[in-house]
């Protein structure tokens, strides 16, 4: 009948009047992210990085810039290159996580925050010092060893390079014999 359709709509709207709004008031509250969130930061463990520049090669946009020189000072055990420059330009970064996939030594992880706005474009290039001094709260994206430890990057606790573990690299190079799938999820601690 005429008018009943409108009345039905009005009652539906009225029902929603009494529901809690789903607004999250931003600066005071933040929407809860998940531990796998590929945030706008990067977590880099310089104790593990060998300067192989796989991440730079794999980046679709080519925003990682690595300059190294062979041997000598400031090298960790087992490595041969000293890293002079390690710049990531997050002004153009897509946060796709392919660099994280590429790293064979699990030295680069995605970060977990998303508030990286700066006041000038030059500050958007993350330099090596900033990477070293930042809080290490890596996202568990593509790192099943962190997920198996139940590490939650959003909970606020940092994790250092020894506890971040290292996952054997099953997806790209068949360097290990074909093992069953379950054992690959275990996260053997190989360094």
């Amino acid at each position: 009948m005429y008018g009943l359709g409108i009345l039905k709509g009005l009652t539906v709207t009225m029902k929603n009047f009494f529901r809690k709004p789903f607004t999250i008031q931003y600066p005071e509250e933040r929407a809860a992210q998940h531990s796998r969130f590929r945030g706008e930061e990067f977590t880099w463990y310089e104790e593990r990085c060998t300067g192989c520049a796989s991440c730079a090669k794999y980046c679709p946009l080519g925003i990682i810039r690595i300059v190294t020189h062979p041997g000598g000072e400031h090298v960790s055990e087992g490595q041969e290159y000293a890293i002079d420059v390690f710049d990531i330009d997050i002004a153009r970064c897509m946060f796709c996580g392919l660099c994280v996939e590429a790293c064979p030594y699990d030295a680069l992880f995605m970060g977990s925050g998303f508030e990286e706005g700066q006041y000038s474009r030059k500050d958007l290039v993350i330099t090596k010092e900033r990477l070293i001094n930042a809080d290490k709260k890596p996202s568990t994206w593509f790192r099943p060893q962190l997920e198996n430890q139940q590490y939650d990057s959003q909970s606020g606790s940092s994790i250092d390079w020894e506890n971040a573990g290292r996952e054997p690299w099953p997806y790209h190079m068949p360097v290990r014999p074909q093992s069953t799938d379950e054992s690959l999820e275990q996260g053997e601690e190989t360094r």
């Binding site: 359709g5 039905k8 539906v12 998940h34 796998r36 590929r38 794999y58 994206w141 997920e147």
Partner: protein
């Protein structure tokens, strides 16, 4: 004045009755596109859509990156439906490289694709509401969409721009208690969809606004080459998930909806019915999914395709989305052509709008399920 104009330009005759309106990019009701309208009083005499404002050269950029690093780029035409736009790409490259995707990965791909379809359609529905002046119909779908985006964030690591599919499977397995959370969210979402029927689809004003406007007959729909919900609203039962099934769609139990009228109301209703079907597909897939297994295939560092070409297509939120990949023994594709549903449906717009009232422009235009960014690639 008989000047010799370059080909493609015409001199406009000044006619007192006809007014040229530029429903341009700076218009709240036009998206990222310009529509040149010639209006006689209240009736549209000539309509000329002018897309291309968001063209970024995706296809050309794809020729400079190899098959894996192409993925974050190719998802950018539709960032919230990114799984569906990467789907034909992944299927095509798997055929090129001869890969066999594990079962669990196929199910998760189907779940992610259906979630993405819901996310996209919610946003489209919201904008349809705003075009008709119904701001509540913008707020509610966009708010409910947050739940699904949160689910996708849990699964893929990003809210939009998921970059989740790779040739050979998916990049990361789903987290631990994903199935329960997904089921709960999908059930709540379905309840909210039914509320939309009460306030929007049964609303007599909406019905009077969209019924019998922009009628696309069955023959015209096939002749013009439209696809997706536009085609199904005109009575043609064509859904690629049923006709050329890919991944595990054959084993899932769902139906496609077809309406016969072919007017804007039918076109606005089919995506909503499709969303209800998507909820069913997700529940079914969650049940039938193998509980464990690998989700990705090992690939060599720079995989090269042979000297062949491949064309695969997929039913996305807008219609059939196809990718034609030509490879010539190199890690980069030689040519990648994307055929999107939005651009193919755009050809129906001048056909439908000529002779319509000016007030019917928003309902007809947006009911063609047009996403401007995707149409321009």
């Amino acid at each position: 004045m008989s000047q010799k104009l370059p080909p493609g330009l015409q001199l406009e005759k000044v006619d007192d009755r006809i007014m040229t309106l530029n429903v341009g990019p700076q218009h709240p009701g036009s998206g990222h596109m310009r529509i040149i309208l010639k209006v006689d009083g209240d009736y549209i005499v000539h309509c000329d859509p002018d897309p291309g404002y968001v063209h970024r050269g995706e296809e050309k950029m794809a020729e400079y990156r190899n098959y894996i690093t192409n993925i974050p780029h190719l998802e950018r035409p539709v960032i919230h439906d990114s799984c569906n736009i990467l789907y034909p790409y992944c299927l095509g490259v798997e055929e090129l490289l001869g890969l066999e995707v594990p079962e669990r990965a196929k199910y998760i791909r189907v779940i992610a694709a259906e979630l993405n379809r819901c996310v996209y359609t919610q946003y489209w529905l919201g904008i349809y509401g705003i075009f008709l002046g119904h701001s509540t119909m913008f707020m509610w779908p966009v708010g409910d969409r947050e739940l699904l985006i949160d689910l996708l964030d849990k699964m893929t690591g990003a809210r939009v721009t998921h970059a989740y599919f790779v040739p050979g499977g998916i990049r990361n397995d789903v987290p631990a208690n994903f199935e329960d959370v997904c089921l709960r969210q999908v059930n709540y979402f379905e309840k909210r969809l039914k509320e939309y029927a009460d306030v929007f689809y049964d609303n007599p004003i909406l019905i009077s606004r969209t019924k019998d406007t922009g009628i696309l007959s069955r023959e015209d729909a096939i002749k013009l080459g439209t696809t997706g919900s536009v085609l199904r609203a005109s009575g043609v039962d064509f859904d690629i998930r049923k006709k050329e099934p890919y991944d595990v769609y054959e084993e899932l139990d769902f139906q496609t909806h077809v309406l016969k009228e072919g007017d804007s109301y039918a076109r606005s209703k089919i995506p909503w019915l499709d969303m209800l079907e998507s909820c069913r597909i997700i529940r079914d897939a969650l049940q039938k999914m193998p509980k464990s297994g690998s989700v990705r295939i090992k690939l060599k560092p720079n995989p090269k395709g042979g000297d062949t070409e491949v064309y695969r297509r997929v039913e996305s939120g807008r219609g059939s989305l196809g990718m034609h990949i030509v490879s010539q023994n190199k890690p980069q594709p030689y040519r990648l052509k994307i055929s999107v549903g939005s651009f193919r449906n755009l050809i129906a717009m001048p056909h439908l709008l000529t002779g319509e009232k000016l007030g019917n422009l928003p309902p007809v235009y947006w009911s063609l399920n047009y996403w401007p960014v995707e149409a321009d690639r």
